[in-house]
């Protein structure tokens, strides 16, 4: 549990909110504040990750700047959230990746792409990238099967391990306790999957000004479910290949290609939409120093989807080799950087929602109405 200026500022704001409570109906953060009279650093880290940054409480706040209390809760909680990513990162030395995270993730992506190209050209032959390959196992002619699977399992395995350890650290730091209990798990899962709190009690977020809009939720859903479909596509493809013995590429109307196509389109729409909302949005209630991190992750995901779809379209042409190398380079760097990019917001947010579901059940406080 570290203390910082951001921690002190968050504590100051939350104590004022706890005396005010006008925003109680907006989201989970305020009822969670009200269960406490003072805030440990762990509490603050929990509340920071519980905030979905919908910004409703900024525009509604009677104490927002230029008031001398200068309350800007979404901004302060976003800054603190960033600090929690650093604090809980595993292994510790890799926490430096969160410094100038936007740049780091961008460079990592470029390096990932370069590495795949160089290794393919160097270990195989440059010509492979230019030839036309078709039929079962075509992709493995460019990148050998062992290399592709080895790297994929290695990076995702490590990423998952690192994020699980991060989540455990977060859980312990924010109060520990058992995370079981079916009802709480179900509540948290629903809150995650519906983005229940991304939306000022039903009317959506504030993007540019005082007006509410559902666009951010819609784009985030497109991205999230698009990503889920793509993961589904990869899983089905893995089963086809390694269990059923049908190596890729698959027909346009096959399950993996359909999942991947819709998923990829969803991801492109979602990432482009979120990027646009950030560009046109009011930046006052945001943590500007973490914007680079947001942009970098969106860029990675957009490129992953775009190159995936391009690969599908051009897989029978001579561009396939290069596109495959490009796509895999991006995917590889995405997974490698997963625990050290904005991606982790989903891990800590979910853990925070689980904690919230638990403490609400134990407190006996009625559920806060999100529609009124």
């Amino acid at each position: 549990m570290q203390s910082s200026n951001t921690t002190d500022e968050a504590r100051r704001l939350l104590e004022i909110c706890n005396a005010c409570r006008y925003c109680e109906g907006f989201c989970a953060v305020f009822p969670a504040i009200e269960l406490r009279r003072s805030f440990t650093n762990g509490d603050l880290n929990y509340l920071a990750n519980l905030c979905h940054n919908c910004r409703g409480c900024y525009y509604a706040c009677q104490y927002a700047p230029p008031h001398e209390f200068a309350i800007n809760l979404p901004k302060t909680l976003a800054e603190l959230r960033g600090e929690t990513y650093v604090e809980y990162a595993w292994p510790k030395p890799f926490a430096v990746f969160f410094k100038k995270n936007g740049t780091v993730v961008s460079i990592a992506t470029a390096l990932g792409i370069a590495a795949v190209f160089l290794l393919t050209a160097g270990l195989q032959s440059p010509q492979i990238l230019k030839d036309v390959h078709t039929g079962p196992g075509a992709f493995y002619k460019v990148i050998p099967e062992g290399a592709m699977i080895g790297v994929a399992l290695g990076t995702t395995g490590f990423a998952i391990l690192a994020m699980v350890i991060g989540a455990i650290r977060f859980w312990r730091d924010t109060g520990g306790g058992k995370a079981t209990g079916l009802h709480a798990l179900a509540t948290a899962a629903r809150d995650v999957l519906t983005l229940r709190y991304l939306g000022g009690a039903g009317d959506g977020c504030n993007n540019r000004d005082e007006q509410f809009s559902q666009t951010r939720r819609v784009y985030h859903h497109a991205l999230f479910y698009g990503f889920t479909l793509c993961m589904g596509s990869t899983t089905v493809a893995a089963i086809y290949d390694h269990i059923l013995g049908w190596p890729a590429p698959y027909a346009f109307l096959s399950v993996p290609v359909l999942l991947g196509t819709f998923g990829g389109i969803g991801m492109m729409i979602g990432t482009a939409g979120l990027y646009w909302l950030k560009l046109v949005g009011d930046q006052t209630p945001t943590a500007r120093k973490w914007m680079g991190s947001d942009y970098a992750l969106l860029m990675q995901l957009f490129l992953a989807a775009a190159t995936g779809l391009a690969l599908l379209v051009f897989r029978s042409s001579s561009a396939m080799g290069a596109l495959l190398a490009l796509h895999l380079g991006i995917i590889f760097s995405f997974f490698a950087m997963m625990p050290y990019s904005k991606f982790v917001h989903g891990v800590y947010r979910s853990a925070a929602l689980l904690r919230y579901a638990h403490e609400r059940r134990n407190s006996g406080q009625p559920e806060v109405a999100t529609h009124s």
Binding site: C20, E24, F26, C57, Y59, H67, S372
Partner: protein, 470 residues
């Protein structure tokens, strides 16, 4: 800036609304929907728009049966009885009944104009049947109204202070406005004044209260200076309400001079003893349940030397009331606490000792008028009296926090301003705090300010539009 009126403004709108709080917006929306062109002049800049209304959280609604938000019922009779109780009968029955009756269909109107509600906030159970709470509070409510108004084509000019209304017979002909040091003249067909009270005008308060007013804290907007009110009263508009009275509560003495709002309130008094600068008690802290005594303490503290008093309690009581914005002063012993407060340590110890020895045995219950009281102490503490003996000891410094003033302009049922010679203005209407004295001759009922402003804002808007475009 979004919402800023274009430079070339309509200098002759059908309806000119003065003020940018709840009453003003209700009037503007209604007038616009009735077909009038509407211009709002708000003294505050956009970020601080909305007067005292930005600090509110609920309004009081009559309902004959359960609604989707308010349970049970709150009948006209009960509402009226409550109003009679707090005003001690100082009210205009016709206007009061109009307010009560029309409050029953406010909620759908408000929702149509973007306002959203939430269940009553935790810690306000006493209001959950009678008062509807705004999701996000008064500023969120105003945001919805401004957004809707702009969509409907209402022009809003911020930073515009109305200085003078030119009365000619029973008509207002011109309105003089200063904005960034430049004077402008408007010639509207009708005018709605919704510019609040004069509680932020310290010089005016000093005329009544002398130098004590320097130590008053104004809980709401610094823009409610009563300039329009004074200007109208000087021109023979009839007044209503006691010019020397205001509604005040005891708040944290460290609150900002203006706009501290709700978070500076202190609910610790019934669980404490309150001493003045001589470290002496001066009133029964446990007289009644806190919400009912809330307003008495503003007056009491205003009468103390230096307009300051101190609420003192011990570790047993620290979690019995809602937290507030500043932490309590804290010390391991009473002399230490006295030192932090600048009180005489010997006297404070003596006052506490005297109080402690008068505390009778009882069973403490913060939720009812319990039987914990003092015997033979002057003044007594009638309830929740427990010995102050468990360190650490705590204290909050108190000052009077002024909510609003009672002086206003007299109106009729169409919200038309009346004149001292018994006539009525033809194109001047009033709504909100500036006419609340018609109904609230004294006292206050939680949530009534917003109800009254909404009801009369709508009446004023409708009548003004009607008069302008007939």
């Amino acid at each position: 800036m979004p919402g800023e009126a274009p430079l070339a403004l309509n200098q002759t709108p059908d309806v000119l609304v003065i003020g940018g709080g709840n009453a003003a917006l209700c009037a503007a929306l209604t007038a616009r929907e009735a077909g009038a062109s509407v211009l709002i002049l708000e003294h505050a800049p956009r970020e601080m728009r909305g007067g005292n209304s930005r600090h509110t959280r609920n309004l009081r609604l009559m309902h004959e049966g359960p609604t989707k938000l308010l349970g049970d019922s709150y009948s006209e009779k009960e509402y009226w009885d409550d109003l009679m109780r707090v005003t001690k009968g100082k009210t205009d029955e016709k206007l009061a009944r109009t307010t009560i009756r029309l409050s029953s269909d406010l909620m759908p109107w408000m929702e149509r104009h973007g306002v959203r509600f939430q269940p009553s906030l935790t810690g306000t159970l006493d209001l959950s049947r009678t008062n509807a709470f705004f999701l996000g509070g008064g500023k969120a409510l105003l945001n919805s109204y401004y957004t809707t108004a702009e969509k409907l084509g209402v022009s809003v000019r911020y930073g515009a202070e109305v200085q003078e209304l030119k009365r000619d017979g029973n008509e207002i002909r011109e309105v003089l406005v200063s904005r960034e040091g430049v004077m402008e003249t408007f010639r509207p067909k009708t005018v709605v004044v919704a510019s609040g009270g004069f509680q932020a005008n310290i010089a005016w308060l000093k005329e009544i209260w002398g130098d004590a007013a320097d130590n008053f804290i104004i809980r709401g907007t610094p823009y409610a200076k009563g300039r329009v009110l004074k200007n109208l009263l000087d021109q023979g508009i009839a007044s209503v309400g006691d010019p020397s009275q205001f509604h005040a509560v005891a708040i944290d003495a460290r609150a900002p001079k203006f706009d501290g709002g709700i978070v500076t309130r202190l609910d610790c008094v019934p669980f404490s003893i309150v001493v003045n600068q001589e470290a002496q008690r001066f009133y029964d802290e446990g007289q009644d349940m806190w919400p009912k005594r809330y307003a008495i303490w503003g007056r009491l503290v205003a009468q103390c030397a230096g307009q300051t008093a101190y609420s003192i309690f011990d570790a047993k009581s620290v979690n019995l009331f809602m937290p507030s914005v500043f932490p309590a002063k804290r010390a391991d012993n009473l002399p230490g606490l006295a030192q932090q407060l600048g009180l005489d340590p010997i006297q404070l110890e003596a006052t506490v000792a005297q109080y402690n020895s008068a505390v009778a045995a009882g069973s403490f219950n913060p939720r009812v008028l319990d039987d914990c009281h003092t015997d033979g102490l002057v003044p007594p503490k009638s309830h929740w009296a427990r010995r102050i003996d468990t360190p650490p000891y705590y204290a909050y410094p108190l000052r009077p926090g002024i909510t609003f003033t009672y002086l206003g302009i007299r109106i009729d049922e169409q919200a038309r301003a009346l004149t001292t010679d018994g006539g009525a203005m033809t194109n001047l209407f009033a709504a909100g705090e500036i006419m609340s004295g018609n109904i609230l001759g004294e006292g206050y009922l939680a949530g009534f300010g917003m109800t009254l402003g909404s009801v009369f804002g709508r009446i004023a808007g409708k009548e003004a539009a009607h008069h302008a475009i007939k």
